[in-house]
């Protein structure tokens, strides 16, 4: 078990070293949430002037409502590409090199998942800082922000895991991209990340209720807008359960894909 974690650490270290070297990518993760917050925040500010809408959102500040959504959206669109690294590693023969080494095979997808979680955490911190600069006040302060970070990272595990599992089965990056794009957008817009469940039509609400984003965004929003509350527990619990299921599934699919 210890070996699994040590091996995973070095698999993750490789991904992270490369991540920190990509200046453009780092800048984009900074710029993107900024644009979202400014644009959407501005667009929707008219909405929150309507007291009825403000009641729906649970806050008079649409930015506060939206910040958790932006965090998850940014994570969604980065973590879901984790799988590309497996496809690429297979192409350049690095995967064979890893598989021929005496490391635990499970450490390969697990390490890449950890890397995705760390990246997700970094992106979340950036967004939170930008949000604070734009006037968002987190109701639960620094401890709450830490919990938000943890939930965000748990959420990135789900996406990275699914992406890695699919990537272990497909042979080309193009196929992987096609599958990912098919899921990413609908996942985002059938959740309550940008709009409250209350304003959704019944059918959309039904879909949103089985969308993992909804369960991750819920406690994050409570911590941002309302404050400490027991109602954050179901969301965190369900996210954790999905994490475990995805991890087990990813490990199974990967080991299966590399053993002939």
């Amino acid at each position: 078990m210890k070996t699994l974690f040590v091996d995973s650490y070095y698999v993750a270290l490789r991904e992270l070293k490369k991540y920190f070297r990509q200046k453009t990518r780092m800048i984009m993760t900074l710029v993107q949430p900024f644009i979202w917050l400014v644009l959407m925040g501005n667009m929707m500010s008219g909405l929150t002037n309507n007291p009825f809408a403000a009641q729906m959102l649970g806050t008079g500040n649409y930015l506060s409502f939206m910040t958790p959504g932006i965090i998850l959206m940014t994570i969604l669109f980065s973590s879901i590409f984790s799988g590309t690294s497996i496809v690429w590693d297979r192409r350049i023969g690095y995967l064979d090199k890893l598989l021929a080494a005496p490391i635990k095979r499970g450490a390969i997808p697990f390490g890449k998942t950890i890397a995705a979680m760390v990246q997700g955490g970094i992106q979340s911190i950036i967004i939170i800082v930008v949000a604070i600069l734009m006037g968002v006040r987190f109701a639960t302060g620094l401890p709450g922000i830490l919990v938000i970070l943890i939930i965000a990272m748990l959420f990135s595990l789900i996406l990275a895991g699914i992406s890695l599992a699919i990537a272990s089965k497909v042979k080309t990056i193009e196929t992987l991209m096609a599958i990912i794009n098919f899921f990413a957008m609908p996942l985002m817009f059938t959740s309550n990340a940008l709009f409250p469940l209350k304003v959704m039509p019944k059918w959309l609400e039904a879909i949103a209720k089985v969308n993992p984003i909804t369960y991750a965004v819920d406690p994050m929003r409570t911590l941002t807008v309302t404050g400490w509350s027991r109602t954050i527990l179901p969301g965190i619990g369900i996210t954790l359960i999905i994490d475990v299921i995805v991890l087990v599934w990813t490990e199974f699919v990967f080991k299966n894909a590399v053993s002939e």
Binding site: T3, L13, R14, K17, K18, R91, K97, L99, A100, P102
Partner: protein, 338 residues
């Protein structure tokens, strides 16, 4: 067990029913350079992948440094280093980072890695460039880095899959020197596959030729070459026919000469069982004594190519490469060409 590699009745049948390897046997001595040759799709890659633990054998046993790869997979993996034909170094890491991670994947501690990394990087002339991104490296440097990384855990056996594929002649010779140095200085056992027969001839103590999943021939390159007929000396005489004819029986008496066959216009072909280069001076001194004029001489020795073609035929293989394989090859070639 006193063999570095032992392969017993190894069979590999893929889940789609393809019998890639049909029960092969061979062993490699410690300190030996063993070449594994064969056309595309002959079972070469499958065999190497089973031995290094990327594929599971369908039947048969493989021992690396005495460890059964299925019963003691950890020890078997630790006993070997592997440099794939794709040259799997990470472009976006520095040379040192590549080596460092490789060391960690082989469970070495930081101190050991620090020391060994310096050794292997110096051995392959890359120490000065250790902090440069591999992205800026030439094909030959990448290959050297890949082999250096494969040695970080001091394996007894080194597997090199097509070590000079896509490299220019100078770089190829440089890699050859590194390989022979490994054998000479570190007593390393080296198992290599190659498509370049002059490479196998120059490097290998023994070669095996595999085709259709079976080993067709296995021996020292020299023995294999002489097994398909010896050297051929072609002589042109400028004397009249009678005088030349009187000289032919004298040639037949020389050691190792098997037959003398007239071709046309005073050109004769002499088949020698071995050492054709030593027979030529003997013919010349005899000819001088008998006042015979030789105007041209040519020595042709059988090459490993002739051996290879004898056992694998001359048909071009329509290798059933998947799209994936072709894409892989293309990327590899592009990476190596600079």
């Amino acid at each position: 067990m006193d063999k570095a590699i032992i392969v017993e009745n190894l069979k590999k049948t893929y889940s789609n029913g393809t019998e890639a390897v049909k029960g092969i046997n061979f062993s490699v001595d410690y300190g030996e350079i063993f070449g594994f040759l064969g056309p595309n799709g002959a079972g070469k890659s499958t065999t190497i992948k089973v031995i290094i633990g990327l594929l599971r054998p369908t039947a048969g046993k493989v021992y690396l440094d005495g460890f059964n790869i299925e019963e003691n997979p950890y020890e078997a993996r630790m006993s070997k280093g592997y440099a794939s034909q794709e040259t799997s170094v990470d472009d976006r890491l520095t040379a040192y980072e590549n080596i460092y991670l490789q060391g960690r994947f082989f469970h070495l501690d930081a101190k050991t890695i620090e020391k060994r990394a310096k050794d292997v990087l110096e051995m392959f002339g890359l120490w000065e460039r250790r902090n440069d991104l591999v992205d800026s490296f030439s094909g030959g440097m990448r290959k050297r880095l890949d082999i250096a990384g494969a040695l970080i855990h001091e394996p007894k056996i080194l597997f090199l899959d097509e070590p000079t594929l896509g490299l220019d002649i100078q770089t190829r010779h440089a890699i050859w020197n590194y390989i022979t140095d490994l054998q000479k200085n570190l007593k390393m056992t080296i198992f290599l596959t190659t498509h370049y027969l002059e490479e196998a001839d120059a490097l290998c103590d023994r070669v095996a030729i595999i085709d259709h999943g079976e080993i067709k021939a296995m021996d020292k390159p020299g023995v294999l070459k002489s097994s398909i007929g010896g050297d051929i000396i072609t002589l042109t005489f400028s004397n009249d026919k009678g005088k030349t004819d009187s000289f032919l029986p004298i040639i037949k008496e020389i050691d190792n000469v098997k037959s003398v066959n007239p071709l046309k216009n005073g050109i004769y072909q002499i088949v020698v069982s071995k050492n054709g280069d030593e027979v030529i001076p003997v013919i010349f001194s005899l000819a001088q004594q008998k006042n015979i004029n030789i105007t041209s001489v040519r020595l042709k020795r059988p090459t490993l190519d002739d051996v290879y073609l004898k056992y694998t035929g001359t048909t071009i293989r329509e290798a059933e490469s998947s799209r994936e394989e072709i894409a892989k090859q293309r990327i590899m070639m592009r990476r190596m060409r600079r």
